[in-house]
């Protein structure tokens, strides 16, 4: 039996997915089967016992850690104006003005293309940090396209750390995190910080290249 047929029989018998090697054709059939299955009336209602058990387990986990709220209050008093000033001072003339909710693209007026990694090494889903002194950031390939974002938190300018397992960029300063494509994942700030600015990126001569300013800013 093909992996797709096995999957369908398991799914219709309400069994778990079993490990298998699949082809793109298998994957397409499996996708259709899941779609058809999702149209079944009432099939997606969670089991009450499961909901209760998981709730109890989470409550037990949550109780096991300190509930420090003082620090959060302190963080919330941090001035938005200060954040804006720092951001302005560092990337002011590089960032095209835009509303805080949209990501800006950093386009240096005197820039040069610098290679970050070879195209072949940046496989689908991979993320690579880079640091050229004038600018630091991360390149990633998602859905076949390559993107680059700044690696500096838009709140107070701390350098972000890549957490590859969770596919996110963590700020070490104020528990803020961004997705690897620059969107704010979560934060504890009085207002949502802007998404990470994007950097211009291209594939050239087998390399992923980012457009960076020549002089430190």
């Amino acid at each position: 039996m093909s992996p797709a047929r096995k999957f369908v029989e398991d799914m219709l018998a309400r069994r778990r997915v079993r490990r298998a090697e699949t082809t793109e054709d298998d994957a397409a059939d499996i996708r259709t089967a899941i779609l058809l299955n999702s149209a079944r009336p009432g099939g997606d209602r969670p089991d009450e016992e499961f909901v209760a058990k998981l709730g109890a387990r989470l409550a037990a986990e949550a109780d096991g850690k300190p509930k420090g709220n003082n620090r959060r209050r302190f963080v919330q008093t941090t001035s938005v104006a200060a954040a804006a000033a720092v951001l302005g001072a560092t990337v002011d003339h590089l960032v095209q003005p835009s509303p805080a909710t949209e990501e800006a693209t950093i386009v240096p007026d005197q820039g040069q293309w610098r290679a970050v990694v070879s195209s072949a090494e940046l496989v689908e889903g991979a993320v690579r940090p880079f640091d050229f002194g004038t600018v630091t950031g991360f390149v990633q390939r998602a859905g076949g396209d390559v993107h680059a974002v700044s690696g500096i938190c838009t709140h107070l300018g701390c350098r972000l750390a890549l957490d590859m397992a969770a596919l996110r960029l963590n700020c070490p300063c104020h528990r803020t995190a961004f997705t690897v494509d620059g969107a704010v994942l979560f934060h504890q700030l009085p207002s949502t910080p802007p998404p990470l600015p994007r950097l211009q990126v291209r594939e050239n001569a087998g390399n992923i290249e980012v457009l960076v300013p020549q002089r430190p800013v």
Partner: protein
Amino acid sequence: MAQRFRARRDAPADAEQDPPRLRVVDVDAYPDWDAIYRDNVERVYRLMYAKVGNRPDAEDLTTEVFMTALRPMRASASVGEVRAYLLATARTVLATFWRRTLGREITTLDEQRDVGLLTGDPPPEDTGATEVDRILAELPDRHRRILQLRFLEGCSIKEAAVTLGVSVSNAKVLQHRALRQATAVAERMRT
């Protein structure tokens, strides 16, 4: 602290007397973890079920999303932040699941496309159903019928065979061909 917020929300009259400047969290914030869980567990489960198609895996993945999200997320985040974070967590959990089981990402979660599945209130209208209707409408009668019997009505292969008046092995072949054809229709409709 969480208790105080909850009490305040439950008693709107009191809340109105509170000077606004004392409010540390948005109105659209969850008072505590329990509230986050109760409001989102069904949403996350339905999302996962729609993406994997079976209950045991959907339960495992839902568990993983909440266990992963518990630590990094502060309880009093706004509803929007919580949902965005749960969705982002669900995306990586699902991707890891498919890579581990079938070696390729069979279904994916996209923050932009699927955010409606989490925020839909009451629970999301079934966009899956309408797509399925359109696919089934394109199939020959017997192909459509076997897929309806097996996937939508929960019939066993034997019951489906009896209903269609064919042998069990014929029903299996019919189901396989019908699914292949439905895939072709679905792919044509997406392009």
